[in-house]
Chain length 310, copies 2
Protein backbone atom coordinates (compact mmCIF):
# COMPACT_ATOMS: atom_id res chain seq x y z
CA UNK A 1 0.00 0.00 0.00
CA UNK A 2 1.18 3.47 -0.83
CA UNK A 3 0.50 7.05 0.24
CA UNK A 4 0.84 10.03 -2.04
CA UNK A 5 1.39 13.30 -0.19
CA UNK A 6 1.25 16.58 -2.04
CA UNK A 7 1.81 19.95 -0.45
CA UNK A 8 4.41 22.57 0.28
CA UNK A 9 8.08 21.90 0.95
CA UNK A 10 9.32 25.05 2.59
CA UNK A 11 11.71 27.03 4.68
CA UNK A 12 10.02 28.05 7.92
CA UNK A 13 11.45 30.92 9.92
CA UNK A 14 9.82 30.70 13.31
CA UNK A 15 9.77 33.00 16.31
CA UNK A 16 8.32 31.87 19.62
CA UNK A 17 8.58 33.30 23.14
CA UNK A 18 11.18 30.58 23.72
CA UNK A 19 13.44 31.11 20.76
CA UNK A 20 13.87 31.54 17.03
CA UNK A 21 14.56 29.05 14.26
CA UNK A 22 15.46 30.50 10.84
CA UNK A 23 14.96 28.52 7.61
CA UNK A 24 14.15 25.16 9.18
CA UNK A 25 12.62 22.50 6.95
CA UNK A 26 8.86 23.02 6.81
CA UNK A 27 5.82 22.70 4.60
CA UNK A 28 2.74 20.52 4.63
CA UNK A 29 4.19 17.78 2.39
CA UNK A 30 7.29 17.59 4.57
CA UNK A 31 5.41 16.98 7.82
CA UNK A 32 2.81 14.74 6.17
CA UNK A 33 5.41 12.42 4.67
CA UNK A 34 7.80 12.37 7.63
CA UNK A 35 4.93 11.34 9.93
CA UNK A 36 3.29 8.86 7.53
CA UNK A 37 6.52 6.97 6.81
CA UNK A 38 6.49 5.43 10.28
CA UNK A 39 3.34 3.54 9.35
CA UNK A 40 3.78 2.96 5.63
CA UNK A 41 6.95 1.85 3.77
CA UNK A 42 5.88 3.55 0.53
CA UNK A 43 5.32 7.28 1.03
CA UNK A 44 5.52 9.35 -2.14
CA UNK A 45 6.06 13.10 -1.96
CA UNK A 46 4.90 15.61 -4.55
CA UNK A 47 6.19 19.13 -4.16
CA UNK A 48 8.53 21.78 -5.50
CA UNK A 49 11.65 23.52 -4.18
CA UNK A 50 14.15 26.00 -5.57
CA UNK A 51 17.86 25.80 -6.25
CA UNK A 52 18.44 27.08 -2.73
CA UNK A 53 17.02 23.91 -1.13
CA UNK A 54 19.95 22.35 0.72
CA UNK A 55 21.16 18.81 0.05
CA UNK A 56 21.05 18.25 3.80
CA UNK A 57 17.23 18.58 3.78
CA UNK A 58 16.95 16.29 0.75
CA UNK A 59 19.05 13.72 2.59
CA UNK A 60 16.77 14.00 5.60
CA UNK A 61 13.81 12.80 3.49
CA UNK A 62 15.95 10.03 2.00
CA UNK A 63 17.03 8.86 5.45
CA UNK A 64 13.33 8.68 6.33
CA UNK A 65 12.71 6.55 3.27
CA UNK A 66 10.40 9.13 1.61
CA UNK A 67 10.11 8.73 -2.18
CA UNK A 68 11.29 12.05 -3.70
CA UNK A 69 10.80 11.29 -7.39
CA UNK A 70 7.86 13.68 -7.25
CA UNK A 71 9.88 16.54 -5.77
CA UNK A 72 10.54 19.07 -8.54
CA UNK A 73 13.71 21.13 -8.15
CA UNK A 74 13.51 24.45 -10.01
CA UNK A 75 17.16 25.45 -10.04
CA UNK A 76 16.55 29.08 -11.05
CA UNK A 77 13.89 29.60 -8.36
CA UNK A 78 13.78 29.99 -4.60
CA UNK A 79 12.01 27.67 -2.18
CA UNK A 80 8.70 28.73 -0.60
CA UNK A 81 9.53 30.61 2.61
CA UNK A 82 7.13 31.26 5.53
CA UNK A 83 7.94 33.50 8.47
CA UNK A 84 5.75 33.48 11.54
CA UNK A 85 5.70 34.57 15.16
CA UNK A 86 3.75 32.77 17.90
CA UNK A 87 2.00 34.52 20.78
CA UNK A 88 3.00 33.78 24.36
CA UNK A 89 0.55 30.89 24.81
CA UNK A 90 1.52 29.37 21.42
CA UNK A 91 -2.15 29.08 20.45
CA UNK A 92 -2.07 32.02 18.08
CA UNK A 93 0.46 33.12 15.51
CA UNK A 94 1.04 36.00 13.13
CA UNK A 95 2.40 35.47 9.64
CA UNK A 96 5.26 37.93 9.26
CA UNK A 97 6.11 37.13 5.65
CA UNK A 98 5.14 34.66 2.93
CA UNK A 99 7.34 34.27 -0.13
CA UNK A 100 5.60 31.84 -2.49
CA UNK A 101 8.56 31.80 -4.90
CA UNK A 102 8.59 28.53 -6.93
CA UNK A 103 5.12 27.69 -5.62
CA UNK A 104 3.55 30.39 -7.80
CA UNK A 105 3.33 28.30 -10.97
CA UNK A 106 3.53 24.84 -9.44
CA UNK A 107 1.77 22.38 -11.74
CA UNK A 108 2.97 18.94 -10.75
CA UNK A 109 3.06 16.02 -13.15
CA UNK A 110 3.17 12.74 -11.28
CA UNK A 111 5.88 10.17 -11.95
CA UNK A 112 4.27 7.20 -13.68
CA UNK A 113 4.60 4.99 -10.59
CA UNK A 114 2.78 7.52 -8.42
CA UNK A 115 -0.47 7.09 -10.38
CA UNK A 116 -1.13 3.79 -8.58
CA UNK A 117 -1.14 5.42 -5.12
CA UNK A 118 -3.95 4.16 -2.90
CA UNK A 119 -4.24 6.90 -0.30
CA UNK A 120 -3.88 10.51 -1.35
CA UNK A 121 -3.12 13.27 1.17
CA UNK A 122 -3.86 16.66 -0.32
CA UNK A 123 -1.87 18.99 1.89
CA UNK A 124 -2.72 22.66 2.14
CA UNK A 125 -2.27 24.09 -1.39
CA UNK A 126 -4.24 25.87 -4.12
CA UNK A 127 -7.38 23.68 -4.48
CA UNK A 128 -6.84 23.68 -8.27
CA UNK A 129 -3.41 22.12 -7.78
CA UNK A 130 -4.87 19.62 -5.33
CA UNK A 131 -7.41 18.65 -8.01
CA UNK A 132 -4.77 18.55 -10.72
CA UNK A 133 -2.80 16.01 -8.67
CA UNK A 134 -5.82 13.94 -7.74
CA UNK A 135 -6.86 13.65 -11.39
CA UNK A 136 -3.55 11.97 -12.18
CA UNK A 137 -4.12 9.17 -9.67
CA UNK A 138 -5.73 6.16 -11.33
CA UNK A 139 -7.86 4.70 -8.58
CA UNK A 140 -7.43 6.29 -5.14
CA UNK A 141 -8.98 4.28 -2.32
CA UNK A 142 -9.21 7.18 0.13
CA UNK A 143 -8.59 10.92 -0.24
CA UNK A 144 -7.72 13.17 2.68
CA UNK A 145 -7.60 16.92 2.26
CA UNK A 146 -6.45 19.93 4.27
CA UNK A 147 -6.96 23.57 3.37
CA UNK A 148 -6.69 26.98 4.99
CA UNK A 149 -8.50 30.31 5.36
CA UNK A 150 -6.66 31.81 2.40
CA UNK A 151 -8.27 29.36 -0.05
CA UNK A 152 -11.64 29.57 1.69
CA UNK A 153 -11.59 33.33 1.15
CA UNK A 154 -9.85 33.65 -2.22
CA UNK A 155 -10.84 30.54 -4.23
CA UNK A 156 -14.13 29.37 -2.66
CA UNK A 157 -15.55 27.86 -5.87
CA UNK A 158 -12.38 25.96 -6.68
CA UNK A 159 -12.23 24.68 -3.10
CA UNK A 160 -15.86 23.53 -3.32
CA UNK A 161 -15.00 21.63 -6.50
CA UNK A 162 -12.07 19.90 -4.78
CA UNK A 163 -14.23 19.01 -1.76
CA UNK A 164 -16.59 17.00 -3.97
CA UNK A 165 -13.64 14.63 -4.63
CA UNK A 166 -12.58 14.23 -1.00
CA UNK A 167 -13.43 11.43 1.48
CA UNK A 168 -12.10 13.15 4.60
CA UNK A 169 -11.52 16.84 5.19
CA UNK A 170 -9.08 17.71 7.97
CA UNK A 171 -9.27 21.35 9.02
CA UNK A 172 -8.85 23.39 12.17
CA UNK A 173 -11.79 24.87 14.05
CA UNK A 174 -11.51 28.41 12.72
CA UNK A 175 -11.28 27.09 9.15
CA UNK A 176 -14.32 24.87 9.70
CA UNK A 177 -16.32 27.83 11.05
CA UNK A 178 -15.29 30.02 8.12
CA UNK A 179 -15.85 27.36 5.45
CA UNK A 180 -19.34 26.58 6.77
CA UNK A 181 -20.07 30.18 7.78
CA UNK A 182 -21.39 28.72 11.04
CA UNK A 183 -19.92 29.26 14.53
CA UNK A 184 -21.26 26.03 16.03
CA UNK A 185 -18.78 23.25 15.16
CA UNK A 186 -21.39 20.48 15.14
CA UNK A 187 -23.51 22.39 12.63
CA UNK A 188 -20.39 23.45 10.72
CA UNK A 189 -19.30 19.83 10.32
CA UNK A 190 -22.63 18.75 8.86
CA UNK A 191 -22.67 21.73 6.50
CA UNK A 192 -19.18 20.78 5.29
CA UNK A 193 -20.18 17.13 4.88
CA UNK A 194 -22.97 18.31 2.59
CA UNK A 195 -20.20 19.79 0.39
CA UNK A 196 -18.81 16.32 -0.32
CA UNK A 197 -16.54 14.83 2.37
CA UNK A 198 -18.23 11.89 4.10
CA UNK A 199 -15.93 12.47 7.05
CA UNK A 200 -14.84 15.72 8.67
CA UNK A 201 -12.07 15.96 11.25
CA UNK A 202 -11.73 19.25 13.08
CA UNK A 203 -8.35 19.95 14.68
CA UNK A 204 -8.47 22.10 17.80
CA UNK A 205 -4.78 22.35 18.67
CA UNK A 206 -4.28 22.09 22.43
CA UNK A 207 -7.94 21.04 22.73
CA UNK A 208 -7.65 17.89 20.62
CA UNK A 209 -9.76 16.93 17.62
CA UNK A 210 -13.34 16.07 16.68
CA UNK A 211 -14.36 13.35 14.24
CA UNK A 212 -17.69 13.56 12.45
CA UNK A 213 -18.38 10.33 10.60
CA UNK A 214 -21.60 8.47 9.93
CA UNK A 215 -23.99 9.42 12.72
CA UNK A 216 -21.34 9.52 15.45
CA UNK A 217 -18.96 12.07 16.92
CA UNK A 218 -15.59 11.25 18.47
CA UNK A 219 -13.76 13.71 20.67
CA UNK A 220 -10.01 13.06 20.93
CA UNK A 221 -8.01 14.80 23.64
CA UNK A 222 -4.70 16.55 23.09
CA UNK A 223 -1.69 15.17 24.90
CA UNK A 224 -0.96 17.39 27.91
CA UNK A 225 2.57 18.62 27.23
CA UNK A 226 4.54 20.80 29.61
CA UNK A 227 7.11 21.78 27.03
CA UNK A 228 5.91 22.85 23.63
CA UNK A 229 8.69 24.43 21.61
CA UNK A 230 7.06 24.95 18.22
CA UNK A 231 3.50 24.09 17.07
CA UNK A 232 4.42 24.56 13.40
CA UNK A 233 3.48 21.52 11.33
CA UNK A 234 1.44 19.87 14.08
CA UNK A 235 -1.67 19.78 11.89
CA UNK A 236 0.15 18.24 8.93
CA UNK A 237 1.90 15.77 11.21
CA UNK A 238 -1.51 14.82 12.59
CA UNK A 239 -2.84 14.18 9.08
CA UNK A 240 0.30 12.22 8.17
CA UNK A 241 -0.03 9.92 11.16
CA UNK A 242 -3.74 9.50 10.47
CA UNK A 243 -3.15 8.64 6.81
CA UNK A 244 -0.30 6.34 7.71
CA UNK A 245 -2.45 4.38 10.13
CA UNK A 246 -5.34 4.15 7.64
CA UNK A 247 -3.01 2.65 5.02
CA UNK A 248 -1.89 0.11 7.59
CA UNK A 249 -5.48 -0.71 8.57
CA UNK A 250 -6.60 -0.51 4.96
CA UNK A 251 -10.07 0.28 6.26
CA UNK A 252 -11.78 3.63 6.76
CA UNK A 253 -14.58 2.92 9.20
CA UNK A 254 -15.34 4.72 12.43
CA UNK A 255 -13.04 2.54 14.57
CA UNK A 256 -10.11 2.88 12.18
CA UNK A 257 -10.64 6.63 12.00
CA UNK A 258 -10.67 6.87 15.81
CA UNK A 259 -7.42 4.91 16.02
CA UNK A 260 -5.96 6.95 13.17
CA UNK A 261 -6.80 10.20 14.95
CA UNK A 262 -5.05 8.96 18.09
CA UNK A 263 -1.94 7.99 16.13
CA UNK A 264 -2.08 11.34 14.34
CA UNK A 265 -2.43 13.12 17.68
CA UNK A 266 0.49 11.13 19.10
CA UNK A 267 2.70 12.07 16.15
CA UNK A 268 1.69 15.73 16.47
CA UNK A 269 2.47 15.66 20.19
CA UNK A 270 6.02 14.63 19.32
CA UNK A 271 6.39 17.19 16.52
CA UNK A 272 5.72 20.20 18.75
CA UNK A 273 8.44 19.22 21.23
CA UNK A 274 11.15 20.64 18.98
CA UNK A 275 11.61 23.43 16.41
CA UNK A 276 11.05 22.05 12.91
CA UNK A 277 10.54 18.34 12.17
CA UNK A 278 13.60 17.23 14.17
CA UNK A 279 11.68 15.21 16.75
CA UNK A 280 9.88 13.34 13.94
CA UNK A 281 13.19 11.94 12.73
CA UNK A 282 14.07 9.97 15.85
CA UNK A 283 10.90 8.04 16.72
CA UNK A 284 10.17 4.33 16.62
CA UNK A 285 7.25 1.91 17.01
CA UNK A 286 7.63 1.63 20.78
CA UNK A 287 7.68 5.38 21.39
CA UNK A 288 4.70 5.97 19.09
CA UNK A 289 2.65 3.12 20.53
CA UNK A 290 3.45 4.17 24.11
CA UNK A 291 2.36 7.76 23.39
CA UNK A 292 -0.78 6.63 21.57
CA UNK A 293 -1.74 4.32 24.43
CA UNK A 294 -1.29 7.19 26.89
CA UNK A 295 -4.22 8.85 25.10
CA UNK A 296 -6.48 5.93 26.09
CA UNK A 297 -5.67 6.44 29.77
CA UNK A 298 -6.00 10.21 29.38
CA UNK A 299 -9.54 9.87 27.99
CA UNK A 300 -10.74 6.83 29.95
CA UNK A 301 -14.21 7.30 31.49
CA UNK A 302 -15.08 4.66 34.12
CA UNK A 303 -18.33 2.75 33.78
CA UNK A 304 -21.33 4.75 34.97
CA UNK A 305 -23.92 3.05 37.16
CA UNK A 306 -27.57 3.91 37.44
CA UNK A 307 -28.40 6.04 40.48
CA UNK A 308 -31.48 7.23 42.33
CA UNK A 309 -32.02 10.95 41.89
CA UNK A 310 -32.70 12.70 45.15
CA UNK B 1 -24.74 13.11 53.37
CA UNK B 2 -25.11 16.82 52.78
CA UNK B 3 -23.74 19.50 50.50
CA UNK B 4 -23.34 23.12 51.50
CA UNK B 5 -23.26 25.51 48.57
CA UNK B 6 -22.37 29.15 49.06
CA UNK B 7 -22.29 31.72 46.30
CA UNK B 8 -24.31 34.36 44.56
CA UNK B 9 -28.05 34.28 44.04
CA UNK B 10 -28.67 36.77 41.30
CA UNK B 11 -30.68 38.30 38.53
CA UNK B 12 -28.95 37.67 35.21
CA UNK B 13 -29.84 39.82 32.23
CA UNK B 14 -28.44 38.02 29.24
CA UNK B 15 -28.04 38.98 25.59
CA UNK B 16 -27.00 36.42 23.00
CA UNK B 17 -27.10 36.47 19.19
CA UNK B 18 -30.23 34.33 19.57
CA UNK B 19 -32.21 36.38 22.03
CA UNK B 20 -32.38 38.24 25.31
CA UNK B 21 -33.46 37.17 28.79
CA UNK B 22 -33.88 39.94 31.38
CA UNK B 23 -33.67 39.25 35.13
CA UNK B 24 -33.65 35.46 34.96
CA UNK B 25 -32.62 33.55 38.08
CA UNK B 26 -28.83 33.30 38.15
CA UNK B 27 -25.83 33.18 40.43
CA UNK B 28 -23.28 30.53 41.35
CA UNK B 29 -25.17 29.20 44.39
CA UNK B 30 -28.34 28.86 42.30
CA UNK B 31 -26.77 26.72 39.59
CA UNK B 32 -24.63 24.77 42.07
CA UNK B 33 -27.59 23.75 44.21
CA UNK B 34 -30.06 23.13 41.39
CA UNK B 35 -27.57 20.74 39.75
CA UNK B 36 -26.38 19.03 42.95
CA UNK B 37 -29.90 18.26 44.20
CA UNK B 38 -30.35 15.58 41.54
CA UNK B 39 -27.63 13.56 43.25
CA UNK B 40 -28.04 14.51 46.88
CA UNK B 41 -31.27 14.86 48.91
CA UNK B 42 -29.72 17.35 51.33
CA UNK B 43 -28.43 20.44 49.49
CA UNK B 44 -28.05 23.52 51.67
CA UNK B 45 -27.79 26.97 50.09
CA UNK B 46 -26.03 29.96 51.60
CA UNK B 47 -26.57 33.28 49.89
CA UNK B 48 -28.23 36.67 50.05
CA UNK B 49 -30.96 38.39 48.06
CA UNK B 50 -32.83 41.68 48.30
CA UNK B 51 -36.47 42.52 48.89
CA UNK B 52 -36.91 42.51 45.11
CA UNK B 53 -36.26 38.76 44.87
CA UNK B 54 -39.53 37.28 43.63
CA UNK B 55 -41.42 34.56 45.50
CA UNK B 56 -41.59 32.63 42.25
CA UNK B 57 -37.80 32.16 42.30
CA UNK B 58 -37.88 31.14 45.96
CA UNK B 59 -40.53 28.58 45.13
CA UNK B 60 -38.38 27.22 42.34
CA UNK B 61 -35.67 26.31 44.85
CA UNK B 62 -38.28 24.81 47.18
CA UNK B 63 -39.72 22.71 44.35
CA UNK B 64 -36.18 21.43 43.76
CA UNK B 65 -35.88 20.50 47.42
CA UNK B 66 -33.02 22.96 48.10
CA UNK B 67 -32.65 23.95 51.74
CA UNK B 68 -33.04 27.75 51.88
CA UNK B 69 -32.58 28.33 55.60
CA UNK B 70 -29.20 29.84 54.71
CA UNK B 71 -30.65 32.30 52.21
CA UNK B 72 -30.63 35.75 53.81
CA UNK B 73 -33.30 38.15 52.54
CA UNK B 74 -32.31 41.80 53.04
CA UNK B 75 -35.67 43.50 52.57
CA UNK B 76 -34.26 47.03 52.17
CA UNK B 77 -31.69 45.95 49.58
CA UNK B 78 -31.65 44.86 45.94
CA UNK B 79 -30.53 41.48 44.63
CA UNK B 80 -27.15 41.17 42.90
CA UNK B 81 -27.69 41.86 39.20
CA UNK B 82 -25.35 40.86 36.35
CA UNK B 83 -25.81 41.96 32.75
CA UNK B 84 -23.79 40.35 29.99
CA UNK B 85 -23.67 39.97 26.24
CA UNK B 86 -22.27 36.91 24.43
CA UNK B 87 -20.34 37.05 21.19
CA UNK B 88 -21.62 35.27 18.11
CA UNK B 89 -19.85 31.98 18.86
CA UNK B 90 -20.97 32.05 22.54
CA UNK B 91 -17.40 31.38 23.67
CA UNK B 92 -16.76 34.95 24.75
CA UNK B 93 -18.88 37.43 26.64
CA UNK B 94 -18.73 41.03 27.77
CA UNK B 95 -20.02 42.14 31.14
CA UNK B 96 -22.29 45.11 30.49
CA UNK B 97 -23.12 45.88 34.09
CA UNK B 98 -22.58 44.47 37.57
CA UNK B 99 -24.67 45.72 40.48
CA UNK B 100 -23.36 44.01 43.63
CA UNK B 101 -26.17 45.49 45.76
CA UNK B 102 -26.79 43.29 48.86
CA UNK B 103 -23.62 41.33 48.08
CA UNK B 104 -21.45 44.27 49.19
CA UNK B 105 -21.55 43.49 52.89
CA UNK B 106 -22.54 39.83 52.77
CA UNK B 107 -21.26 38.09 55.90
CA UNK B 108 -23.17 34.86 56.18
CA UNK B 109 -23.77 33.13 59.50
CA UNK B 110 -24.64 29.48 58.99
CA UNK B 111 -27.79 27.98 60.45
CA UNK B 112 -26.76 25.59 63.22
CA UNK B 113 -27.69 22.51 61.16
CA UNK B 114 -25.48 23.62 58.28
CA UNK B 115 -22.32 23.26 60.37
CA UNK B 116 -22.43 19.49 59.96
CA UNK B 117 -22.25 19.68 56.14
CA UNK B 118 -19.86 17.12 54.66
CA UNK B 119 -19.11 18.57 51.24
CA UNK B 120 -18.65 22.32 50.86
CA UNK B 121 -18.93 24.04 47.49
CA UNK B 122 -17.43 27.49 47.64
CA UNK B 123 -18.97 29.20 44.63
CA UNK B 124 -17.38 32.26 43.07
CA UNK B 125 -17.37 34.94 45.79
CA UNK B 126 -14.97 37.14 47.74
CA UNK B 127 -12.35 34.65 49.03
CA UNK B 128 -12.71 36.16 52.52
CA UNK B 129 -16.42 35.29 52.52
CA UNK B 130 -15.61 31.80 51.22
CA UNK B 131 -13.23 31.39 54.15
CA UNK B 132 -15.70 32.85 56.62
CA UNK B 133 -18.25 30.22 55.59
CA UNK B 134 -15.78 27.35 55.61
CA UNK B 135 -14.65 28.25 59.15
CA UNK B 136 -18.20 27.71 60.36
CA UNK B 137 -18.35 24.13 59.08
CA UNK B 138 -17.32 21.68 61.81
CA UNK B 139 -15.67 18.90 59.87
CA UNK B 140 -15.92 19.15 56.07
CA UNK B 141 -14.95 15.97 54.26
CA UNK B 142 -14.23 17.63 50.93
CA UNK B 143 -14.03 21.27 49.87
CA UNK B 144 -14.53 22.40 46.28
CA UNK B 145 -13.85 25.98 45.28
CA UNK B 146 -14.41 28.19 42.27
CA UNK B 147 -13.11 31.72 41.75
CA UNK B 148 -12.73 34.27 38.95
CA UNK B 149 -10.28 36.75 37.46
CA UNK B 150 -11.65 39.59 39.59
CA UNK B 151 -10.48 37.96 42.85
CA UNK B 152 -7.22 36.77 41.28
CA UNK B 153 -6.46 40.39 40.39
CA UNK B 154 -7.96 42.32 43.33
CA UNK B 155 -7.54 40.03 46.38
CA UNK B 156 -4.65 37.71 45.48
CA UNK B 157 -3.43 37.22 49.08
CA UNK B 158 -6.89 36.47 50.42
CA UNK B 159 -7.47 34.01 47.56
CA UNK B 160 -4.16 32.29 48.33
CA UNK B 161 -5.25 31.92 51.94
CA UNK B 162 -8.54 30.34 50.88
CA UNK B 163 -6.75 27.98 48.50
CA UNK B 164 -4.77 26.47 51.39
CA UNK B 165 -8.12 25.20 52.76
CA UNK B 166 -9.41 23.71 49.50
CA UNK B 167 -9.27 20.09 48.27
CA UNK B 168 -10.35 20.75 44.69
CA UNK B 169 -10.16 24.01 42.75
CA UNK B 170 -12.49 24.25 39.76
CA UNK B 171 -11.57 27.13 37.43
CA UNK B 172 -11.69 27.88 33.74
CA UNK B 173 -8.59 27.92 31.56
CA UNK B 174 -8.05 31.67 31.48
CA UNK B 175 -8.42 31.85 35.26
CA UNK B 176 -5.93 29.01 35.70
CA UNK B 177 -3.41 30.76 33.44
CA UNK B 178 -3.84 34.04 35.30
CA UNK B 179 -3.74 32.51 38.78
CA UNK B 180 -0.55 30.58 37.99
CA UNK B 181 0.87 33.32 35.75
CA UNK B 182 1.71 30.50 33.32
CA UNK B 183 0.24 30.01 29.82
CA UNK B 184 0.81 26.25 29.67
CA UNK B 185 -2.15 24.57 31.41
CA UNK B 186 -0.19 21.53 32.56
CA UNK B 187 2.39 23.73 34.26
CA UNK B 188 -0.35 26.06 35.52
CA UNK B 189 -2.15 23.16 37.19
CA UNK B 190 0.94 22.03 39.07
CA UNK B 191 1.70 25.59 40.17
CA UNK B 192 -1.86 25.91 41.50
CA UNK B 193 -1.63 22.53 43.26
CA UNK B 194 1.44 23.88 45.07
CA UNK B 195 -0.85 26.60 46.45
CA UNK B 196 -2.93 24.03 48.33
CA UNK B 197 -5.57 22.16 46.31
CA UNK B 198 -4.61 18.52 45.86
CA UNK B 199 -6.85 18.44 42.81
CA UNK B 200 -7.30 21.00 40.07
CA UNK B 201 -10.06 20.84 37.47
CA UNK B 202 -9.79 23.21 34.53
CA UNK B 203 -13.00 23.97 32.65
CA UNK B 204 -12.57 24.72 28.96
CA UNK B 205 -16.15 25.40 27.91
CA UNK B 206 -16.87 23.88 24.49
CA UNK B 207 -13.52 22.05 24.78
CA UNK B 208 -14.38 20.03 27.88
CA UNK B 209 -12.40 19.85 31.10
CA UNK B 210 -9.05 18.67 32.43
CA UNK B 211 -8.52 16.89 35.76
CA UNK B 212 -5.13 17.05 37.46
CA UNK B 213 -5.06 14.67 40.40
CA UNK B 214 -2.26 12.55 41.84
CA UNK B 215 0.13 11.86 38.97
CA UNK B 216 -2.54 11.50 36.31
CA UNK B 217 -4.40 13.77 33.92
CA UNK B 218 -7.93 13.15 32.66
CA UNK B 219 -9.29 14.97 29.63
CA UNK B 220 -13.09 15.07 29.49
CA UNK B 221 -14.81 16.04 26.24
CA UNK B 222 -17.64 18.53 25.98
CA UNK B 223 -20.96 17.27 24.68
CA UNK B 224 -21.33 18.31 21.02
CA UNK B 225 -24.49 20.42 21.06
CA UNK B 226 -26.04 21.92 17.96
CA UNK B 227 -28.24 24.29 19.88
CA UNK B 228 -26.71 26.28 22.72
CA UNK B 229 -29.00 29.04 23.90
CA UNK B 230 -27.17 30.41 26.93
CA UNK B 231 -23.84 29.31 28.45
CA UNK B 232 -24.48 31.29 31.64
CA UNK B 233 -24.09 29.11 34.73
CA UNK B 234 -22.56 26.17 32.87
CA UNK B 235 -19.44 26.25 35.04
CA UNK B 236 -21.42 26.34 38.30
CA UNK B 237 -23.75 23.62 37.04
CA UNK B 238 -20.67 21.54 36.23
CA UNK B 239 -19.36 21.99 39.78
CA UNK B 240 -22.80 21.20 41.23
CA UNK B 241 -23.09 17.95 39.31
CA UNK B 242 -19.52 17.03 40.26
CA UNK B 243 -20.11 17.74 43.95
CA UNK B 244 -23.43 15.92 43.85
CA UNK B 245 -21.84 12.81 42.43
CA UNK B 246 -18.97 12.92 44.93
CA UNK B 247 -21.43 13.02 47.82
CA UNK B 248 -23.17 10.01 46.33
CA UNK B 249 -19.89 8.13 45.87
CA UNK B 250 -18.59 9.44 49.21
CA UNK B 251 -15.08 8.94 47.83
CA UNK B 252 -12.74 11.41 46.18
CA UNK B 253 -10.25 9.27 44.28
CA UNK B 254 -9.28 9.56 40.65
CA UNK B 255 -12.07 7.27 39.39
CA UNK B 256 -14.77 9.08 41.37
CA UNK B 257 -13.45 12.43 40.18
CA UNK B 258 -13.53 11.22 36.57
CA UNK B 259 -17.12 10.07 36.94
CA UNK B 260 -18.01 13.26 38.78
CA UNK B 261 -16.59 15.37 35.97
CA UNK B 262 -18.68 13.45 33.44
CA UNK B 263 -21.85 13.96 35.50
CA UNK B 264 -20.94 17.61 35.92
CA UNK B 265 -20.36 17.92 32.17
CA UNK B 266 -23.67 16.21 31.48
CA UNK B 267 -25.52 18.63 33.79
CA UNK B 268 -23.77 21.60 32.15
CA UNK B 269 -24.71 20.33 28.70
CA UNK B 270 -28.37 20.46 29.76
CA UNK B 271 -28.06 23.89 31.39
CA UNK B 272 -26.87 25.64 28.23
CA UNK B 273 -29.84 24.42 26.18
CA UNK B 274 -32.10 27.11 27.64
CA UNK B 275 -31.86 30.67 28.99
CA UNK B 276 -31.47 30.60 32.78
CA UNK B 277 -31.69 27.41 34.86
CA UNK B 278 -34.99 26.32 33.28
CA UNK B 279 -33.66 23.13 31.73
CA UNK B 280 -32.17 22.10 35.09
CA UNK B 281 -35.64 21.97 36.59
CA UNK B 282 -37.03 19.22 34.38
CA UNK B 283 -34.39 16.48 34.44
CA UNK B 284 -34.46 13.00 35.94
CA UNK B 285 -32.13 10.07 36.56
CA UNK B 286 -32.71 8.48 33.16
CA UNK B 287 -32.00 11.67 31.21
CA UNK B 288 -28.87 12.43 33.23
CA UNK B 289 -27.52 8.89 33.02
CA UNK B 290 -28.23 8.68 29.29
CA UNK B 291 -26.40 11.97 28.67
CA UNK B 292 -23.49 10.96 30.90
CA UNK B 293 -23.15 7.60 29.14
CA UNK B 294 -23.09 9.38 25.77
CA UNK B 295 -19.79 10.93 26.93
CA UNK B 296 -18.25 7.47 27.19
CA UNK B 297 -19.10 6.71 23.56
CA UNK B 298 -17.97 10.20 22.54
CA UNK B 299 -14.52 9.66 24.08
CA UNK B 300 -14.06 5.93 23.44
CA UNK B 301 -10.64 5.05 21.99
CA UNK B 302 -10.46 1.51 20.58
CA UNK B 303 -7.65 -0.78 21.74
CA UNK B 304 -4.34 -0.05 20.00
CA UNK B 305 -2.26 -2.94 18.71
CA UNK B 306 1.50 -3.02 18.30
CA UNK B 307 2.62 -2.38 14.72
CA UNK B 308 5.82 -2.65 12.73
CA UNK B 309 7.17 0.77 11.76
CA UNK B 310 8.06 0.97 8.10
Amino acid sequence: MSILTVGTVAFDSIETPFGNAPRVLGGSASYLSLAAQYFCPDVRLVGIVGGDFPEEYVQLFRDSNVDLRGLEVKEEGDTFHWKGRYHYDLNERDTLDTQLNVLVDFEPTLPEDYRSSKIVCLGNLDPAVQRHVLEQVDDPEYVLCDTMNYWIEHTPDSLRETLTLVDCLVVNDSEARELADEPNLVRAASIIRDMGPETVIIKKGEHGALLFNGSTVFSAPAYPLEDIEDPTGAGDTFAGGLAGYLVRARAYGSQELRRGIIYGSAMASFAVERFGPGRLLELNEDLILERARAFRELAAIPKLQAFETA
